[in-house]
Structure formats: structure tokens, C-alpha cells
């Protein structure tokens, strides 16, 4: 792909050298693209057949998905006992994974919505995949609260529906119920936001694909989009509204997730700094995951010109700042414990750092606070390989953050008599893997069948050369 492009536009400015990029603010999109090129480049990956790399990736992730599915089936058929939980540690992998995936989701919304509100043009080439990621992450997250139930088949009892029991409603005072509403709202809104953004691109696909299943599907889902300026006008308004809604939604969702813990009496959970702490953590982990995916997509889908080093750097800076916030939160926790004079609180944190689970705690600190400091260095930020590695590390670290919060707080609480330890079973591990399998399978399918970059938006931010028409006429004849 890349070389065909260079053939078409043989100017040396097409692939500018890095230094130039860094100094004078370079275009968001490299390679002096025209709208037509955008359409062409972005539609190319799924108009061509899948690459071998794609097949490999998909095979791997789908296998893990199947493994996970088997594990979950066995667990639901046999009982929660197939997990390593006990009377003292009632939650571990399940809720850890839940919070982890919700967190992942958040960066997607952040990038697409918040950056949109801040008119950050560079978001345009990443927001589509970021939103997709959000969608899939929240899907994974949503699974865990259901399968972690002793009787998942009764999950619908969480919903306040009229019934013949009196009627007996639900407990609106329970953070878990807030979760139910928050997560489902988040899933639906993200889905709508994503789809609305997709409509014009679907129209593009419809118009350029030959008669066949793709065209049929595209024409159904593009809702007869014709590019009328009046529609564009309303569309912009609604898109802005959705962005405006999604932004507070992101914060509320993770605030509520954090309340699962913050409103409990368990030392290590019962703390007021959780909402901001969790939101920061969520964005942190989310950014890391976006980076991971973007860098992969960039390579696999050959979109180097659309996801440029500038995007990567921007993301790195965001990630670094979030990492620092998270680090601050870790510190604050200890301070709060020490300052509160609450012996239970103090013990929990000493126990985190020095108790049986200290390995988990220090893994978390290393991955989330220490290693990301490397991103202060420009050299690191611009080194794709390193950035990729760091993003992975942060993902791991953020998973451990949730594990530490949940397990170390539970396993030694008030009465020493009921202190217990915890170790996962194979089923739990398989379930975690399965969630990753689900996530990546969905994402790979997304890459295959849906434009990973919002064409309509990218076209909007193309640098407009003043005598573009000359090319135009040439190409006009060519066409």
C-alpha cells in the first residue's frame, strides 16, 4: 500500500523526516492526502482480503475466547466454588476484571468525546477505533458482574420491573444497582455515539462497493445518507450533544464503580478519594490500551500516514500525566490512612505494602508509576517499540491495581480469626483470558469490516492546499 502511494505522489514531502515533524507543526495527516486518497486508503484494508497477519491474530484471540467460554460454562454449571474465592475473599478476579475492562473503555470515550469538545483535530484518526474499543471493553466488563453471581440466571432481578411479589422492587441504595444502570447506560450511549459517527462512512462504503452483501448491508445501515448539508448541519449538532453527554457519563460511570468500594466499610475500600482516583486510573489504563491497539492497527492495517508519531506522542503525554495522577493517589491513600489514625485503615495499607500480597502491590507501583516516568524523554515517546512495551506494562499494572484494592483489602479485615488467603483457580485464569479473547476477536472483526478511521472526519481536517484544483482536474479526467 505504502509504495503505491509514493508512486502516485512522488514528492519528497510525502514522508517528511522526523525532525521536521517535531519542529514545525506538521500536518495531522502525512502524505499530502486528498479526500479521494483518504477514502481509498481507508477502505482498502477491508476491500482487500485479510492479510495472513490478521488471520493469525484472529485465530489466536478466537481460541482464547473459546477457552474462556468453556471455563464460564463449566463455572455456571458447577458453581462459583470453581473459583478460588472463600468466605473472606468474596471477590477477586471477577470484579478485578470488571473494573479493569470498564477502565479500558473510558479512554475511548475520552478520546472521541472529550477531545471532540476541546476541538482536538488529531483525535479524528483515532476516535473510531477508540470508540470501538470502548464498546468491546464495556461488553467484556458487563459480562463479569453477571457471571460472578451465584445465580446468574436471575440477573434480571436487578431491574426494577413490576412483579407479583408485592411488588418487590430493587434496592436503589446499593452501589451495585447503580452499577447496573451506569454500565448499561454507558454501553448503550457508547454504541449510539459510535454508530452515529459511522453513518456517513457507511454511506461512502455503500457508494463505492460493488453490488453485493457489503453494499446491501451498508445501504441498510447508512439509513439512506445522501450527504445533504442540512442533514450534516443537524448531524453536527447531535454529535456535539452526544459528546457533551458522554463526557460526564464517563466520569459518572467510573465514579459509581469506585463507589462499590468507597461506600463499603472495609478498610482500604472505605475512602473518599476513590472517585477521582478511579477515573484517573481508568483513563490511564484506557490510554494504554488505545495505544496498544493503535500501534498494532497502524502496523497491521498500514495506516502509518494517518496514525503518525504526533498522535503517538500526544497519547504518551496524556498517559504520563495520568500515570502521575495515579501515583499521587497511591501516595494519598497512605497519607490518609496515616493521618486518619484509624488503626484498621493503617493496617490495611501496611499490609498491602508488606503483607502476603506485597508482590502484587509493588508490581502495581512499578508498572503504573515508575516505568511510565520514562515517557518524560522525547526519545522514548518517539520510539514506537518502547511506547508499545510501556503501554503493555501499564495495562498489566492497572489490572494489578484493581486486584490489590480488592483482594488485599478483603483478605485481612477486622477480625483476625477470619483472615484468609486467596489464589486463583485455572477456571478464573481461563475466564480472564477469555475476556481478552472476546475483546480482540471483536476488535479484529471490526478492523476487517468497518473503516477503522472516521473518513468523513479525517477529510474535514485535511490540510487544504490552495491550488488543489490542479490535481483535481487531472484526477477528474483520470476518473
Amino acid at each position: 500500500m505504502a509504495n503505491t502511494m509514493t508512486q502516485r505522489v512522488p514528492t519528497s514531502s510525502s514522508v517528511p523526516n522526523p525532525d521536521a515533524l517535531a519542529t514545525l507543526r506538521p500536518p495531522l495527516i502525512a502524505g499530502d492526502k486528498q479526500p479521494a486518497d483518504v477514502t481509498h486508503d481507508i477502505c482498502a484494508p477491508f476491500e482487500r482480503g485479510p492479510t495472513a497477519l490478521w488471520w493469525v491474530a484472529f485465530a489466536v484471540s478466537f481460541t482464547t475466547l473459546v477457552i474462556g467460554a468453556i471455563a464460564v460454562t463449566y463455572q455456571i454449571a458447577t458453581g462459583i466454588g470453581t473459583w478460588g474465592l472463600n468466605r473472606t475473599v468474596g471477590w477477586a478476579f471477577d470484579i478485578t476484571n470488571f473494573v479493569f475492562w470498564v477502565g479500558i473503555g473510558h479512554a475511548g470515550t475520552l478520546i472521541s468525546a472529550v477531545l471532540f469538545l476541546f476541538r482536538q483535530k488529531w483525535r479524528t484518526s483515532v476516535n473510531r477505533s477508540a470508540e470501538a474499543m470502548t464498546l468491546f471493553a464495556v461488553m467484556c466488563a458487563g459480562l463479569f458482574p453477571i457471571i460472578h453471581m451465584g445465580r446468574p440466571w436471575l440477573a434480571f432481578w436487578m431491574m426494577p420491573y413490576p412483579n407479583t411479589r408485592g411488588p418487590l422492587w430493587v434496592n436503589f441504595k446499593s452501589p451495585l444497582l447503580w452499577d447496573v444502570f451506569a454500565i448499561s447506560t454507558y454501553l448503550l450511549i457508547s454504541a449510539v455515539f459510535w454508530y452515529v459517527g459511522l453513518v456517513p462512512d457507511l454511506a461512502t462504503i455503500r457508494d463505492r462497493s460493488p453490488a453485493g452483501w457489503r453494499r446491501r448491508l451498508a445501504s441498510i445501515f447508512s439509513l439512506g445518507w445522501n450527504g445533504s448539508a442540512r442533514t450534516w448541519h443537524r448531524y453536527e449538532t447531535v454529535y456535539m450533544l452526544l459528546a457533551g453527554l458522554a463526557t460526564p457519563l464517563v466520569f459518572s460511570v467510573h465514579t459509581i464503580v469506585s463507589m462499590d468500594f468507597a461506600t463499603a466499610v472495609i478498610p482500604g475500600w472505605h475512602t473518599t478519594i476513590f472517585p477521582p482516583y478511579f477515573v484517573a486510573g481508568a483513563i490511564f489504563s484506557g490510554l494504554a490500551m488505545v495505544l496498544t491497539l493503535m500501534l498494532i492497527a497502524r502496523k497491521v492495517m498500514q495506516l502509518e500516514d494517518y496514525i503518525t508519531l504526533r498522535h503517538v506522542e500526544a497519547m504518551c503525554k496524556l498517559m504520563l500525566s495520568m500515570g502521575c495522577i495515579v501515583g499521587l493517589a497511591y501516595g494519598t491513600e497512605f497519607f490518609v490512612a496515616a493521618y486518619s489514625g484509624n488503626p484498621y485503615e493503617q493496617f490495611v495499607f501496611l499490609n498491602r505494602a508488606g503483607g502476603p500480597f506485597r508482590w502484587a502491590y509493588w508490581t502495581m507501583v512499578t508498572c503504573n508509576v515508575i516505568i511510565p516516568q520514562l515517557l518524560w524523554l522525547r526519545g522514548v515517546r518517539r520510539n514506537i517499540a518502547l511506547v508499545f512495551a510501556i503501554s503493555i506494562v501499564v495495562n498489566i499494572g492497572m489490572w494489578f491495581e484493581r486486584f490489590v484494592i480488592i483482594v488485599t483489602s478483603l483478605h485481612r479485615d477486622f477480625l483476625p480469626s477470619s483472615w484468609a488467603d486467596y489464589s486463583p483457580t485455572i477456571i478464573e485464569v481461563a475466564t480472564l483470558l477469555g475476556s481478552f479473547g472476546l475483546f480482540f476477536s471483536c476488535f479484529l472483526l471490526f478492523c476487517r469490516f468497518i473503516p477503522v478511521i472516521a473518513m468523513a472526519e479525517v477529510k474535514g481536517v485535511l490540510k487544504s492546499p490552495h491550488h488543489a484544483h490542479e490535481h483535481e482536474s487531472v484526477k477528474g479526467d483520470a476518473a
Binding site: 468466605r87 460472578h148 451465584g150 501496611l350 477480625l415 483476625p416
Partner: protein, 1031 residues
């Protein structure tokens, strides 16, 4: 025959039809019971059921009657629930009401203490054992073993019919052959031995005596697996009568115990606990309580409750007793002619001196007991008590105890005769001879050589496999019995169910073989008419029928005791003790667990899963090793080590347990394990890919430690010196319910100034006398509310107060709760994974972990907080607060998020990780129909026996009276031998609990969280002089 045991109607007592439809399963129990009762049962205070009405009925009928049950045959159309059949018994006797609880006074047979029993039956099924409140010994208490009786009744592995050489046979044929065999033996002048453990039943004792009298050489050998033979022999020598004194701990202000675990397993624990605890309640205006000193080598339950506990080496016990005797003698002005012990290390001299002072000062109110099996030592014990004038006050010889009659000399000679092949006929009842005498290898072969060997065992054991005939006895709940635990205290045991199998009472078997067949009832009445009725109190009515009725209704009757001839104390009998040299190597100390007083109970899943009050370990036995030795040998909990004593005895491999408070150089191993047939528990608990079996196949629950016993100077000794220990490198994690054993936080992570958690508050009597509030934790327990109090409790406000000073941790309440609330047995693996299901647990904390360790026990169950953290977080409203202050758990609404359990500061909530199997439908007859059987995936916890509260409320409403204080008793409260648990209405100013709440010792656990628990505790007070340490 066997087929008859499972006719269709008895189908699901636990309906599994809708585990997936969110239905908690509860057995249908509307069947017509009364037919299943043998005739002339007498309900307490109730009217007699005429024999005519209660025609005996076949098991077929019983099981039919047992089934008001569901047969999941047809499905009605369009979403109908499965068709549910109801099988009313064809004929229903008068006065029986379906579903109503009926209690029958009876006598417990769990051990030879013969406590008073109240058998709660519903629909003809005995379900719940309770203490008989009026009983002079147990005083309403009942131990864990007694509570666990009923599950044995419904055990399928009980023999359903007699066996002949291991094959089922008819009674007639067996009787015929046995009678022939006996005649032959009579002619051959061969020896006939009837071996039983202590027989508290005078009738049976007389019957056996009569039986053996027919033979030229017939004898009744009494074999107590944990015998007190030495005490009896010592009294033979010092007082001229081979009797066991009746100990009155309730009269003792100073108790000195040398190794005697009288609160746990020694002679009559329930009675002793009741007595002991009656002196453990200091009042603010009257700060007095008994002083209890314990010298012991292992950590026993009694030791864990002592005011002073000294860890001693077993070899020191004799010398210490002797030394004490010496000091007391000098105080009494009658110095001993010769020193009791030649070589005396001065260790403990000063303590002993103080103790002697105290004892002497409290003459007649002290009590010295010792579990030594060395007659010499026991003689000195008697001497001490004699000098202190305790005989007649705290020890009673006029009305001696009949709770231990074992005579080890007879056993030893029996063993000799057996190996010499002199025995013609051997009858063995309620003791597994071969298991209990495992220290005599080759005994099995000797038994095989006995021409006529007969076992009365209810289940297969080692002896039955060698016995020619097995004539299974009834389960105690199926048969009549009587008992005379204390001379003059006669109690009756009545059946509550027709025999489930084709079994026969031992009494009847013997009668048949004597050629004068009779029913047990007839035999009892005959005996009582002749030898009990005449001794009746003057108040009793002159008609035997009335006398019998009264006795039957009240369960016991006091009559004038048979006179015993007691001589003046024979001081000449005192002989110096053998000089004891601390043998090299380890000394093994054999003991019995509270949950496993003897091997007879090895088939009881409840007892197997009962956490030992001290070690908190379930399922099987282990070697307790002292911390010092553990450090030296690098042994950790669960390391399997091999223990052996020389060549002759086999070596045993058991997991180790490091036991604080145990004396260096000793190994403590529990007996009563490794019982044949306990491999039945291999599949107990959930089966899934990660599960470890409770019993490794081919093996048994625990190992039989009896191999380490030995006969020494005519006594069966439970300690053995010269043992060696070797590590095997194997590891078997112990299934302990408590992993962290101290209130001291781990030093490396303990916050400065808060290293100790005052969950259990303690003080000393000295401090308490100064300030009744001494020992209170100083944290500002704020009582401010964030929100208005808009949940007034206008009606009742149920609450509980637990006196930690009375509570010994005996765990009777744990089993009481399990029996009452259908709590499942989950097996070794689940317990190991910290998933035990007991609603009521007893936390045990070692305080300062050192040579002299302080132990505290704390029953912990749902605290029914008014500001319950669990309730707020449940999304489904499955756990909410009742208008009477109860924290309700609604199983059928629970979806199992486990959020409530996470948020419970006391961690008292239990989750059904699996569908705990109820495969054995017969076994399920033990389930309490008043309590839902929980399905998989739901949370459960202590409900403060809400079913009893509701029953009480309905009863009161029906009579149109308010619920009286004490009308409702929780299961744990009812069973508590120490009377440490008090339940009642905190809104009723006149209730006992309202008074208890004003007690200065009262505090609430984790009060500072302001969750406002409804359960309060009373502070521990140790009778010591030094000032209270905080917490």
C-alpha cells in the same frame, strides 16, 4: 429386604426440581408420624397414647408415612408445576398433629455421662437433641456429641439385619446357633466374656451379670477406651471401695487439675462445665469467682480456660502431685513419713506452695483432680483431697458416680486369655475391641480363634469383620434404656421411632439366649419395679404405674442411693512414686478430641467437621508439636511426619500441627480416628475438577493412635515415652477454620500503637474488683447518626448477650446450630479453602504466644446490626432488616453477588459455593422442616433461629398472650452447658437480657464502627492478682 428401604414415596426430601428456578428446597413433611412411634410413648406433660392406637408398623409403612413427598412424575399442562402427591397414612392415631414439634424426655448415650435429653421430634422423626433443663447433672446443657446423635440414626451404613459370618441371616437361625454354641461352651467349661464400655444402665448391667452367671467362668469386662480405672483403683486402696467420686465443681472455689480435661472430655464434661461456669460470673457488688489452675503437657480446652496454666512434661505430673501432697501434708500438720518422690527438681515449688496455701485456706471448698492412669499418683490426689476435707463437699463418695466403671486390669487379663485361647465365647458391645486395643497386634487372630465371637455393633468395625455373629443393637433413639449416672439418680431413655432396621436391643438378645425372651420395656419395668420403686422418695405415689409415668415424663427420678461402704482414709496405702526419669526422645500424649470422645462417633459427619475448640482443625487427627520442637526440627503445619516408638509398635504418619502452649518434648495425638468404614467420607462435599477428596481412597479419616497405648502396672496408659519423629517430606494441609490465631497483628505490618485488636476484652479479678469497667477498650465509640432514626422498634427488639467468662469454647452450640438450621457438611477440601458453612463459629485467640499462653474463645455469629453494612449493599433486597431488629437473609431472593459478605465486618456470612449434595434420602430425614435447605449460589447466615421466634409468636398469639421472656430459646442458647448465651427481647425492661445489658462487663465487638450490633459480649475476667492488660 433391602429393597424395602427405599420405596418411591420417600423421594426428594430435598426437592432438587427447581434449584435452577430459584427455589430454595425444603422437605415436605406433612406425613403422619405417630404410627412410626412404638406404643406407649409418653409425651412430656402429654397424655399417654394407648397401645391399641399405635399398632407396630413395618418399615415399608414408616417410609410411606414418611412421604408427604413429591414424586416428579407427570407434568401438568401449560407451565404447571410438577404434580405433587400427598400420601396421608391410612390410619392416624389420636393426638398426633402433623408438623408439630414434640419433645420426649430421654437419656443421652453419646458417652457414659448419661446427660438428660429432650428429643425434639416432628412428624415422627427425631430431629433435634436438646438438654433436659430439669436434669440435675446436665442442667439443660448438651455437648456437641449429644447434639449430633440423630444423624447417626438415619445412617444407611448401620446394619439392617444380623450377620452370620458376614452374611445377612435371620434372627431365628442366629439365635438357634448361638444358644447351641453357648451350651457347648458351658459343657466345655470354657470362659465367657462380655466386653462393654461403661454400662450406666442398671437394668442392662443386671442382665449381663445374670447372663454371665450361667457359665462356670463368665465375666463382664468393662472397657472404657478412655478409662479412669486408676481413680477407681486408688479409691479401692484409700477408701476401700472401688468407686468414682462424684465431683462437684459448682462447690469448688479453687480447682487444681493435673491434666484432667474436665471441661472437654473427662468423665462428665457437661455437668462439670455447668458447675465450673456457675462460679465464673463475678458481680460488680460481689467480685468473686473460682480460681482454676491447670498443669498439663498439651493444650486442652480446660487448660485454655484456666486462670493459671502451667505447661509440664508428662513425666513431671506424678512428682508435682506428690510434692503438692507433701506441702499440704505439712500444712495439715501430718507430714508424710517418706517423700513421695526421691528426685524432685525444684521447678514450680513456689507456685505449688502458693497453691497449697490457697487450698489450705479454702479447705472443703477446693478440688484437686488428675487424669493420671498411675494408681500411685491418684492415691496422693485422694490424700490431698482428704487432708483438705474435700470429701463430702466437692467430692462425693456416698453417692458415687457410675460414669466410669472400666477396669483396665480385667482388660489386660482378657487380652492374655484371648492370646492364650482360653476364651470360649466373646460378646462385644459398643466398643471396637480391635480398634481400641490396636497396641496389641495379633489380637485379631486371637479373636478369630474364639469359637463363639459376637458383636453388637450397629455398624461394621474391625471386630465385626472377625466376629462370627453380628447382632446389631438399636440406635439409642430407637430403643428403651435407663441409666444411673450418679448413684440414686435414675433416668429413662425412650424410643422416638420404630427401628429402621431389623435390629434388636442387646438386652433382648441376651434375654433370648438365656431362654427367657422379653422386650426391653418389660425388662426395664420389671427391674424398676423390683429395685428402683422400693427406693422411691416418700413423696412419690404408691402406684408403680404412676411412678413410672412420672419418671418417663420428667426423664429421671431421684431415689435413695444404694449404700456404699466407705472406710476411713487408709494412709498406709500411700507409697512413694517410681522415680521418673525424663526418658530421651519424645513423649506421646494420647487424648480425645471434644468432637470425637471415642471411635463410636467416627461415622458422624457433623462431628468430623466440627472444628476442634483448641486447634480449630476439622477432619482427622494430627500430631501436635510444641513450637520449640517445631523450630528445632523445621516442622510446619501440615508437614506429614512419621512417629514411632521402637521396633514393636508400628509407625504412624500424620500431618503436624504446631501447638502453642504445649510442653517441649511432647507429641499430642488424638485417639478415635482411623476407624474402619470412614472411607465412606471420600466423596463428602462437592465434586469438581479442582476438588481434593476428604479421604484419600483406600485410607481412612485420620489414623488410629491407639497403637501407642501400653499396659503398665495394670493400667492402660495414654502416654508413651521414647518416641522418635522423622519428616517424610510429604505435606497434607490441615483443614483448619482459622488461619491466623492471635489478636496481635503480624509485627512487620502492625501500625504503631495498634498492634493489638481488642476484639476480646480481658481483665483480671483484681482490676475488676477495683473498677467493674476495667479492661474496656478506650476508643471513642461515636453514636452520632448521619440520618434521622426513622426505624423505631416498637415491638420486640431481639438481642443476645454472650458471657465470654462462662464460655469455654466447647462448641456444643456449633453442632446445635448445624442441626437446627440444616447446615451442610462440606468436607475436608472446602474447609481447607476456608469455605466451612457453620453459621456459628467460635474464634479462638492465643494471646501472648509464649510459654504461658493465654487463650480466649469467642462465639461469633451474625451480629444483627441495626446499621447493617450488608443490607445497604444488596441490590436485590435479599438481606434486609426486620421491624424487630433481626437481620434477615431471604435465600430465595438472593442472587449471590457476595457483596454483603465482603462488607460484613464480622465475616459471619456463608455462601453456598456449590449445590452441597443431599444424595442420601434417608439421611435427609434429619433435616429440620422449619428451615429452608439452601440451594447453590445463595448467601446464608445466623438468623437468630427466627423459625423458633415465629413458632413462639404463633403459639403466644394462639393463646392470646404476649410472648414471655425465655419462651423462645435459640438452639445455641438451649444447648450451652455453661449457660453463657442469653437471648431475649431488649425492649422488655423485665427481661433477663435487659438486665444483662446493664452488666459493667458488657461490650460490643467493633463498636467503633457504629454498625450497632444486637449481640453483646461480657468481658473475660481471669482470677489473677496482677493488673489488667488492655484488650
Amino acid at each position: 429386604m433391602a429393597a424395602k428401604f427405599m420405596p418411591p414415596p420417600i423421594a426428594p426430601f430435598v426437592t432438587t426440581r427447581d434449584v435452577f428456578l430459584a427455589a430454595m428446597t425444603k422437605q415436605r413433611s406433612e406425613f403422619r408420624p405417630s404410627e412410626t412411634k412404638p406404643h406407649s410413648l409418653v409425651r412430656r406433660g402429654g397424655n399417654q397414647v394407648a397401645p391399641a392406637e399405635a399398632a407396630a408398623l413395618s418399615r415399608r409403612q414408616f417410609l410411606e408415612a414418611a412421604g408427604f413427598t413429591i414424586s416428579l412424575a407427570a407434568f401438568g399442562g401449560c407451565g404447571r408445576a410438577p404434580v405433587d402427591h400427598a400420601f396421608p397414612a391410612p390410619a392416624m392415631p389420636a393426638g398426633t398433629i402433623p408438623g408439630q414439634l414434640r419433645s420426649y424426655a430421654s437419656t443421652c448415650t453419646g458417652c457414659s455421662a448419661a446427660c438428660g435429653l429432650l428429643v425434639g421430634t416432628r412428624d415422627g422423626r427425631p430431629l433435634k437433641m436438646e438438654g433436659l433443663p430439669e436434669h440435675p447433672l446436665s442442667q439443660g446443657g448438651l455437648c456437641a456429641v449429644g447434639q449430633a446423635l440423630p444423624i447417626g440414626l438415619y445412617d444407611r451404613q448401620r446394619f439392617a439385619e444380623p450377620l452370620q459370618n458376614g452374611k445377612p441371616a435371620e434372627w431365628t437361625t442366629i439365635d438357634h446357633e448361638i444358644v447351641q454354641g453357648l451350651d457347648r461352651i458351658k459343657s466345655q467349661q470354657k470362659a465367657v466374656r462380655v466386653v462393654t464400655s461403661t454400662v450406666t444402665s442398671p437394668t442392662l448391667r443386671a442382665r449381663i451379670a445374670a447372663f454371665v452367671k450361667q457359665f462356670p467362668d463368665g465375666r463382664h469386662v468393662v472397657f472404657d477406651p478412655n478409662s479412669s480405672s486408676a481413680i477407681l483403683d486408688a479409691h479401692q486402696q484409700t477408701h476401700g471401695a472401688r468407686v468414682l467420686p462424684h465431683y462437684h465443681f459448682d462447690r469448688a472455689t479453687t480447682v487444681v487439675s493435673f491434666g484432667a480435661d474436665f471441661l472437654g472430655t473427662w468423665i462428665s464434661p457437661v455437668e462439670f462445665t455447668a458447675g465450673w461456669s456457675s462460679r465464673r460470673a463475678p458481680q460488680a457488688n460481689k467480685p468473686e469467682m473460682s480460681h482454676h489452675v491447670q498443669f498439663e503437657s498439651r493444650m486442652s480446652l480446660t487448660g485454655s480456660n484456666a486462670d493459671r496454666r502451667y505447661a509440664i512434661h508428662p513425666s513431671q505430673q506424678g512428682p508435682l502431685v506428690g510434692r503438692l501432697a507433701e506441702i499440704v501434708a505439712t500444712l495439715a500438720g501430718k507430714p508424710l513419713p517418706e517423700k513421695p518422690v526421691a528426685n524432685m527438681d525444684g521447678k514450680f515449688d513456689q507456685q505449688l506452695a502458693e497453691l497449697a496455701e490457697r487450698l489450705w485456706h479454702e479447705r472443703g471448698r477446693g478440688l484437686v483432680v488428675c487424669d493420671s492412669q498411675e494408681v500411685g499418683v491418684q492415691r496422693y490426689v485422694n490424700y490431698i483431697n482428704h487432708l483438705l476435707g474435700n470429701y463430702g463437699t466437692t467430692l462425693d463418695l456416698e453417692r458415687p458416680s457410675r460414669q466410669r466403671q472400666g477396669n483396665d486390669r480385667d482388660i489386660e487379663s482378657l487380652v492374655e486369655e484371648l492370646s492364650a485361647g482360653q476364651i470360649g465365647a466373646l460378646f462385644v458391645a459398643d466398643v471396637d475391641l480391635l480398634h481400641a486395643l490396636a497396641n496389641r497386634p495379633g489380637l485379631a487372630d486371637a479373636v478369630d480363634r474364639v469359637p463363639l465371637s459376637i458383636s453388637f455393633a450397629p455398624r461394621g468395625d474391625e471386630f465385626t469383620t472377625h466376629a462370627k455373629y453380628v447382632c446389631p443393637d438399636h440406635h439409642p433413639l430407637e430403643s428403651w434404656s435407663d441409666a444411673e449416672p450418679i448413684s440414686g439418680l435414675m433416668s429413662l431413655g425412650q424410643p422416638t421411632l420404630q427401628p429402621l432396621g431389623n435390629t434388636r436391643a442387646m438386652m433382648e438378645s441376651l434375654a433370648t439366649w438365656m431362654g427367657q425372651p422379653t422386650t426391653t420395656l418389660a425388662a426395664l419395668q420389671a427391674y424398676w419395679k423390683d429395685s428402683v420403686f422400693p427406693r422411691r422418695p416418700s413423696s412419690a405415689s404408691a402406684s408403680f404405674a404412676d411412678f413410672w409415668d412420672v419418671a418417663l415424663r420428667s426423664g429421671f427420678v431421684e431415689v435413695t442411693p444404694e449404700p456404699v461402704k466407705i472406710n476411713e482414709f487408709n494412709a498406709t496405702s500411700l507409697k512413694p512414686l517410681m522415680p521418673t526419669t525424663a526418658a530421651d526422645g519424645f513423649t506421646i500424649v494420647l487424648y480425645n478430641k471434644i468432637g470425637m470422645p471415642d471411635a463410636r462417633h467416627a461415622h458422624n459427619p457433623w462431628l468430623q467437621e466440627l472444628p476442634d475448640p483448641v486447634t480449630k482443625v476439622t477432619w482427622g487427627n494430627y500430631v501436635c508439636v510444641s513450637p520449640a520442637d517445631a523450630d528445632r526440627l523445621q516442622i510446619n503445619d501440615g508437614d506429614v511426619i512419621a512417629v514411632s516408638v521402637g521396633k514393636d509398635a508400628p509407625q504412624l504418619e500424620l500431618p503436624a500441627l504446631v501447638q502453642v502452649g504445649q510442653h517441649e518434648g511432647t507429641l499430642a495425638i488424638a485417639r478415635g480416628y482411623g476407624v474402619k468404614g470412614t472411607d465412606r467420607f471420600a466423596k463428602v462435599g462437592p465434586q469438581w475438577i479442582g476438588a481434593n477428596p476428604t479421604v484419600v481412597d483406600g485410607e481412612l479419616v485420620g489414623v488410629n493412635a491407639a497403637v501407642f497405648q501400653e499396659f503398665r502396672s495394670g493400667m492402660l496408659r495414654y502416654e508413651r515415652s521414647g518416641a522418635t519423629v522423622a519428616k517424610t517430606g510429604k505435606h497434607r494441609a490441615l483443614a483448619a477454620t482459622q488461619k491466623y490465631n492471635s489478636l496481635e497483628l503480624p509485627s512487620n505490618v502492625a501500625p504503631h500503637g495498634a498492634e493489638h485488636r481488642d476484639v476480646i476484652q480481658r481483665t483480671t479479678l483484681a482490676a475488676f474488683a477495683k473498677d467493674p469497667h476495667a479492661g474496656a477498650a478506650e476508643h471513642h465509640a461515636t453514636d452520632t447518626q448521619l440520618w434521622p432514626e426513622d426505624h423505631p422498634k416498637t415491638g420486640h427488639a431481639w438481642g443476645m448477650v454472650i458471657d465470654l467468662n462462662k464460655c469455654t469454647g466447647c462448641s456444643a452450640c456449633v453442632i446445635a446450630c448445624q442441626a437446627e438450621n440444616n447446615i451442610p457438611v462440606v468436607g475436608y477440601d472446602e474447609v481447607r479453602r476456608q469455605r466451612e458453612m457453620h453459621w456459628l463459629r467460635i474464634d479462638r485467640y492465643y494471646d501472648q504466644v509464649s510459654e504461658n499462653v493465654d487463650v480466649a474463645h469467642q462465639p461469633m455469629m451474625c451480629q444483627h446490626c441495626d446499621n447493617a453494612p450488608c443490607e445497604t449493599v444488596c441490590p436485590a433486597l435479599a438481606t434486609v432488616h426486620s421491624s424487630e431488629g433481626l437481620n434477615e437473609q431471604v435465600y430465595n431472593r438472593c442472587v449471590g453477588t457476595r457483596y454483603c459478605a465482603n462488607n460484613c465486618p464480622y465475616k459471619v456470612r456463608r455462601f453456598n459455593w456449590f449445590a452441597y449434595p443431599h444424595p442420601d434420602l434417608r439421611q435427609n430425614l434429619v433435616l429440620n422442616p422449619e428451615v429452608t435447605v439452601r440451594s447453590r449460589g445463595v448467601m446464608e447466615k445466623c438468623s437468630m433461629c427466627v423459625q423458633r421466634i415465629e413458632a413462639g409468636r404463633i403459639a403466644a398469639r394462639t393463646q392470646g398472650v404476649p410472648m414471655a421472656d425465655g419462651m423462645v430459646q435459640t438452639a445455641c442458647q438451649q444447648s450451652c452447658p455453661a449457660d453463657a448465651i442469653l437471648f431475649g427481647d431488649m425492649n422488655d425492661p423485665r427481661s433477663a437480657i435487659s438486665a444483662a445489658l446493664k452488666n459493667p462487663r458488657r461490650y460490643r465487638v467493633l463498636e467503633e464502627l457504629n454498625v450497632r450490633p444486637s449481640v453483646s459480649y461480657l468481658r473475660v475476667v481471669r482470677n489473677r492478682d496482677e493488673e489488667a492488660r488492655r484488650g
